[in-house]
């Protein structure tokens, strides 16, 4: 039926696409001073740059919903639950992201079911499910793979990112971007006031699980860059930083994506320059952004609030 040819065409197309994206990115990078752009002359650094920028962008996008819906713990839960999926996929010989997606989604459904049908509260349900799934993953991996392999899954290995992982991240980015654009209003209304969404006849069940699937997809796509443990930071910190800086939802999405992409680029460069773990460096840059915003935000920052207090206080005196 010509399936091999189709796959071949698809492969060629994706290679061209990735090549084009990297070339476009390098045009921008080469505008920078040599001391910075030198780091990105290697092909593996260019792939790492493209991947981590895309991961920063989708994590930033999704983190707004995670922060506003108070889903930080859920993000944590799904990211841990992905581990047994990776191990099982490895055993069966499937691409790792299929297994990861299946166990991540199953766990989030399980959490919802426990929460709804028993007297166990949601935080306990999440704690039980994700530690259980994570333990299963550790046990399976200790049997089948080396500890370096485990370290890569847990903490990322962006410098060794494969072509297939890059493509997955690209596909996930496109899906996430399209969904957020096409379903912008229902998603925002659901995050803001789910009862209102229901009263307007929106199917909140579909929105809820759609958002969870999108979260799972993002986590799976970020696996190789920052790893299972640190992806949680990328799903919370950019959104929280943006929330401190604006009172508009669209602006929040833009700032959050900018923080995600910016941390990815700067973190990658710092990790190359100082020869330290890249996943951790990326997260540290994002965390620094958060604390800067916490201190300096014009509206919701600590310093401005202090200043306003003192100002108002002196007026009252």
């Amino acid at each position: 039926m010509g399936t091999p040819e189709m796959l071949h065409t698809l492969d060629a197309f994706s290679s061209t696409l990735v090549g084009g994206l990297i070339a476009a990115l390098m045009v921008l990078v080469n505008l920078l001073p040599d001391s910075i752009s030198d780091a990105f002359q290697y092909a593996f650094m260019q792939r790492a740059l493209l991947t981590s920028m895309m991961v920063g962008a989708i994590c930033g996008l999704l983190s707004c919903y995670v922060v506003l819906k108070r889903w930080s713990l859920l993000g944590d839960a799904i990211s841990h639950a992905v581990l047994p999926g990776v191990a099982i996929a490895y055993l069966v010989g499937l691409p790792f992201f299929i297994g990861a997606f299946v166990t991540g989604a199953l766990t989030s459904l399980g959490i919802g079911a426990i929460e709804r049908h028993t007297r166990i509260k949601s935080d306990a349900a999440m704690g039980i499910m994700f530690t259980g799934a994570f333990a299963l993953g550790i046990v399976l991996i200790s049997k089948i793979a080396s500890s370096t392999h485990l370290m890569h899954i847990l903490f990322g290995n962006v410098l060794g990112v494969q072509h297939s992982a890059l493509l997955l991240t690209l596909a996930a980015s496109i899906v996430a971007l399209l969904v957020v654009w096409l379903a912008f209003r229902p998603l925002m209304l659901y995050a803001f006031d789910p009862t209102q969404a229901q009263a307007l006849g929106f199917n909140t069940g579909v929105i809820h699980y759609g958002l969870i699937l999108l979260l799972t997809l993002t986590i799976v796509a970020s696996l190789e860059t920052v790893g299972i443990i640190l992806v949680v930071a990328m799903l919370i910190t950019p959104g929280a930083t943006a929330h401190l800086l604006t009172d508009r939802f669209k602006t929040m999405l833009l700032i959050s994506v900018a923080v995600g992409v910016g941390s990815a680029v700067l973190g990658l460069w710092l990790s190359y320059t100082f020869d330290v773990a890249s996943g951790g460096t990326i997260v540290l840059v994002a965390t620094s952004c958060f604390f800067l915003a916490l201190l300096l935000s014009p509206k919701h920052g600590v310093l401005m609030r202090q200043w306003r207090h003192r100002h108002i206080g002196s007026v009252n005196d």
Partner: protein, 274 residues
């Protein structure tokens, strides 16, 4: 069917409704009809199941048993058409959400926007069809909040927040307004403004159903009163239902009911011993 042709169908009819939280019954054997074009007040003590009834009417909670109809057919259809607007209690809203007053009220139009062409739906709010923008503008000026349109909702005072929530319900241009304690915790100028707005809406032919603890307001404005405390405790005109003797009966019903609950009885004993 014949009834609805004659125009006698209720705006909302509740038939044999049962609801429970964690196997604890909250509403039992509820049969109700909210007449078209009338203003109904639902009155009952705290924990009587009033908000639960509203959660069921808006579709965010499923009853154990029972059927709900709007204008003689399935209520879900009318929700999808945007003919039922809901004003939540202030506590139900996340006020830290980064959204302006204008966009909050605009969200009431999201249901109607689904019927616009797809290309238009993908444009930003300010390029949506003129009638959406007009509805938002009119609702905001009705509650005297147009000057605050660009403010973030978190920066408003309590009474202003209530008025924005009311504006959101109005902007939907729905046939039925469901209002959960629209007068709770507002200062008296805001209260008067809200009651006047609702009076005008009813005169324009809308059906209003509100939960309230404000007896003087209810006596003066509403057409129809439902007393509720797990069961329906009475239904009729404000004069009959909001008399001192009727309200005392309702209060007694809630004491009897809690006395039947072991935990609450223990609690009451402990309080008496103090």
């Amino acid at each position: 069917m014949i009834e609805s042709c004659l125009g006698n169908a209720a705006a909302i009819e509740v038939k044999g409704l049962y609801a429970a939280y964690q196997r604890q019954p909250v509403l039992e054997d509820i049969h109700l009809a909210f007449p078209v074009g009338q203003w109904t007040a639902i009155v009952g003590p705290n924990g009587a199941g009033k908000s639960t009834l509203f959660h069921i009417l808006t579709g965010s909670m499923r009853p154990l048993r029972g059927r709900i109809e709007a204008f003689g057919d399935e209520i879900e259809r009318h929700r999808k058409e945007g003919s039922i607007a809901y004003m939540a209690q202030r506590e139900a809203i996340e006020w830290d959400f980064p959204i302006s007053v204008w966009d909050t009220v605009m969200s009431a139009r999201y249901g109607h926007m689904r019927h616009d062409p797809l290309w238009r739906q993908l444009l930003p709010a300010r390029w949506q069809a003129a009638h959406h923008l007009q509805a938002v503008r009119k609702a905001l000026s009705d509650v005297d909040m147009l000057a605050f349109a660009d403010r973030p909702i978190g920066a408003l005072s309590g009474g202003q927040k209530k008025r924005v929530l009311l504006a959101r319900a109005l902007a939907q241009e729905a046939r039925i307004l469901l209002l959960d304690e629209p007068l709770a915790g507002v200062d008296s100028p805001s209260e008067q403004l809200i009651l006047d707005v609702l009076k005008r809406e009813r005169e324009a032919g809308r059906t209003i159903v509100m939960v309230t603890h404000d007896m003087p307001g209810a006596r003066r404005y509403v057409d129809h009163v439902v007393l509720i405390n797990r069961f329906i405790r009475g239904e009729g005109t404000p004069e009959e239902m909001l008399s001192d003797s009727k309200l005392a009966e309702l209060a007694v019903s809630s004491i009897e009911q809690s006395a039947s609950d072991h935990a609450l009885r223990a609690n009451a004993v402990a309080m008496m011993q103090k």
